[in-house]
């Protein structure tokens, strides 16, 4: 593996740089809210950092709810696999399909 060229994110420093850029941007955008006068369509938008807080909280709720949904929606990969039977082999089909026909 040593003779392979190094890629940009193989170096953890670069990953850190991206993260720092993100944190700095977030801080800056939040601060801009106090500087730029926004014209407001809705009274909720008067709340400082409304979009920032809503975006963050929305995503956290989304992920937590979706993870919780797994407890009753997730099934094994072959849950529906009894849909086909051996006759289908005669229809010129297979498990892997014709993935390479277009190569």
């Amino acid at each position: 593996m040593d003779n392979k060229p190094k890629h940009i994110f193989d170096d953890p420093k670069n990953v850190k740089r991206v993260m720092h850029f993100l944190y700095a941007s977030c801080a800056l955008l939040f601060a801009l809210d106090f500087v730029i006068h926004r014209h407001v369509y809705h009274s909720w938008e008067n709340l400082w950092g409304f979009h920032a807080i809503y975006g963050f909280a929305g995503c956290v709720v989304l992920v937590i709810v979706a993870t919780w949904m797994r407890t009753f929606l997730m099934r094994s990969e072959d849950y529906y696999d009894d849909e086909w039977n051996t006759d289908l082999d005669e229809k010129n089909t297979s498990d892997t399909g014709a993935a390479n026909v277009d190569d």
Binding site: L29, A66, R70, W84, A99
Partner: protein, 566 residues
């Protein structure tokens, strides 16, 4: 320039014929020339009815141009050029012909001036596109294709019944505003709703699109749902129910998208989410909202196509599409990675990318009409779509942990198609004037002002921050090999079990009935056996000697009787 009055669908069908008869480079050339010629031709065509004839008592108008249909026709031409370029390397004639016919059917549908013509193309869309699924040639694709076809044809049947009601009631077949009055209104509404992937009617899409071929899915993502959006925009603008249906469509699929492993299925869920914005805009019904819906449909065809193309390229090169099996592909497919990120930025509505200039129109329109809750739902969905389509797709495919897969960059034709789509995404986002000039209503909307840009940037960057935080703390659900239940469970599992149960019960009844019959039969036979069998009283044969003895006795008795009577 040489021009023709032929409707675009005729040109595409001729193209399909040539695609069936030719091979190799000639076929590629013809297939690309057809949409380019057709688009140039359309550019010159004035608005109005260009083809009409009487059918029984009704006037049919198979080729009618107005601003709304033109907008969709332009983007369908762009989609056709992109999809055909993307699939130039495909040698499978069935796929090439089906793709051409499918694009032609979509163009036929948007230029249909009457409902009967719409119905014909509605069914053709289903019949032609299913071959793009079957062409994958997996067992799963075969079964999924059948399900897809049944649901699509059913939508067409609903449409036809609705149209018949409409014709008897209104005395015309003109495709104008329909609205939800009368049986016909609801029938046609549901027919469109199926193709538009309304909640609970949506599952054919997430079921079928990820099972098609890498190139087939790019075609599929462009046409069917957008034809349905067009039909809604013409038949049901300002229908309030659509506001809530649309808002629901933007929100519910993102939960499934977060936990889905198949990355093309993630995109299918986000397709429903994006169509939700359009449906919502049509429901609001103001000039700004309709403009927003149509503009977003235009942009969505391109950026969703782009995202499906990048995932198709990954599937084509690696044979894998599950997030759990991919990762680190930016090392081998840098161009595809870049294009994917352009698509991701566009669907997430980053400023300077196409989603930004169209999605915000719908959201502003929702606020202007006082739909506060709906606006909050749309805002949540905007954050959510960035989360699953904007970050999850590129992250798990190209970055994340290195899966160790080393492959080649996508073929040149795929790169050209993705590059062209990326350029359009950036062009429409950075210079929306051209897009706005094509819209059905006059536009006085300014997307780039401090408020919009700042609010959107805050929403997106803090969503990204949430992703990072969830990843770091391990709260983010890992990608797992699994099936997540959705509304298809009702017909794939419940209905099947129900039918099996009914079959079993019927079998039991039949069995019991048979048993009874057998009992009766036994009774009858034993009775018959008792009296008429060879050894029984009536049926038995007697030995000759005994018979002779009896006859002798009889004779003797006759003799005695005869003599004694003398």
């Amino acid at each position: 320039m040489w021009m023709t009055d032929l409707p675009p669908f005729v040109l595409f069908f001729i193209g399909a014929l040539f695609a069936a008869l030719t091979r190799g480079r000639i076929r590629g050339f013809i297939m690309l020339a057809i949409p380019l010629f057709s688009a140039a031709n359309l550019w010159m065509m004035p608005e109005g009815v260009h083809l009409q004839f009487a059918f029984m008592d009704y006037q049919l108008e198979p080729y009618k141009i107005d601003k709304l249909s033109l907008m969709f026709a332009y983007v369908f031409h762009i989609a056709a050029v992109i999809s055909i370029t993307y699939s130039l390397h495909v040698k499978d004639t069935v796929q090439q012909v089906a793709g051409m016919m499918y694009a032609g059917s979509a163009l036929g549908a948007v230029f249909a001036g009457d409902l009967l013509t719409l119905f014909v193309f509605w069914e053709l869309l289903a019949l032609t596109s299913v071959f793009l699924i079957w062409a994958r040639k997996t067992r799963r694709a075969y079964v999924v294709g059948l399900r897809y076809l049944i649901i699509q044809i059913f939508s067409g049947v609903l449409l036809l019944v609705g149209v018949l009601f409409y014709a008897t009631e209104k005395g015309t077949l003109d495709f104008q505003y329909i609205g939800l009055d009368g049986v016909y209104g609801w029938l046609i509404f549901f027919a469109i709703g199926i193709k538009c992937a309304f909640p609970l009617l949506h599952n054919w899409l997430t079921d079928a699109y990820p099972e098609a071929t890498p190139t087939g899915t790019v075609f599929l993502s462009a046409f069917t749902t957008k034809v349905a959006v067009y039909a809604l925009a013409r038949g049901y603008p300002g229908t309030e129910l659509l506001v809530y249906i649309g808002a629901a469509m933007t929100c519910f699929p993102i939960f499934w998208a977060v936990v889905e492993n198949d990355l093309r299925r993630v995109l299918a869920y986000s397709l429903i989410n994006q169509v939700g914005f359009m449906v919502c805009g049509i429901g609001i019904g103001t000039a700004l909202a309709i403009n927003g819906a149509v503009a977003h449909a235009f942009n969505d065809v391109i950026f969703k196509g782009l995202l499906f193309m990048t995932m198709g390229a990954v599937l084509h090169r690696t044979g894998k599409i599950n997030g759990s099996e991919l990762g680190g592909l930016y090392k081998s497919m840098p161009w595809t990675t870049g294009f994917c990120m352009v698509g991701a930025a566009s669907i997430s509505a980053f400023p300077l990318f196409s989603g930004f200039v169209s999605k915000s129109m719908v959201m502003v329109a929702a606020l202007e009409e006082g739909h506060s809750i709906v606006w909050l739902m749309l805002l949540f969905a905007s954050a959510g779509v960035f989360h699953h389509a904007g970050i999850k797709i590129p992250f798990f495919a190209f970055f994340a942990h290195d899966s160790g897969i080393r492959t080649k960059e996508a073929p040149w034709n795929m790169l050209i198609a993705m590059g062209f789509a990326s350029a359009l995404c950036i062009f429409n986002g950075s210079y929306p004037a051209v897009l706005y000039s094509l819209l059905p209503y006059q536009v006085d909307y300014v997307p780039y002002d401090g408020t919009h840009v700042l609010a959107q940037m805050q929403l997106l960057f803090f969503s990204a921050l949430a992703f990072v935080w969830l990843q770091r703390t391990g709260l983010y659900p890992p990608e797992l090999m699994s099936v997540n239940l959705d509304s298809d469970w009702f017909y794939r599992h419940l209905l099947k079990r129900l039918i099996q149960q009914i079959g079993y019960k019927l079998g039991q009844v039949n069995h019991r009935f048979n048993n009874q019959l057998i009992n009766i039969k036994c009774l009858v036979t034993s009775y018959l056996q008792h009296y008429f069998s060879p050894t029984s009283l009536f049926g038995g044969t007697v030995k000759t000697g005994v018979a002779v003895a009896w006859i002798s006795v009889l004779l003797l008795m006759i003799l005695i009787a005869a003599f004694s009577s003398k």
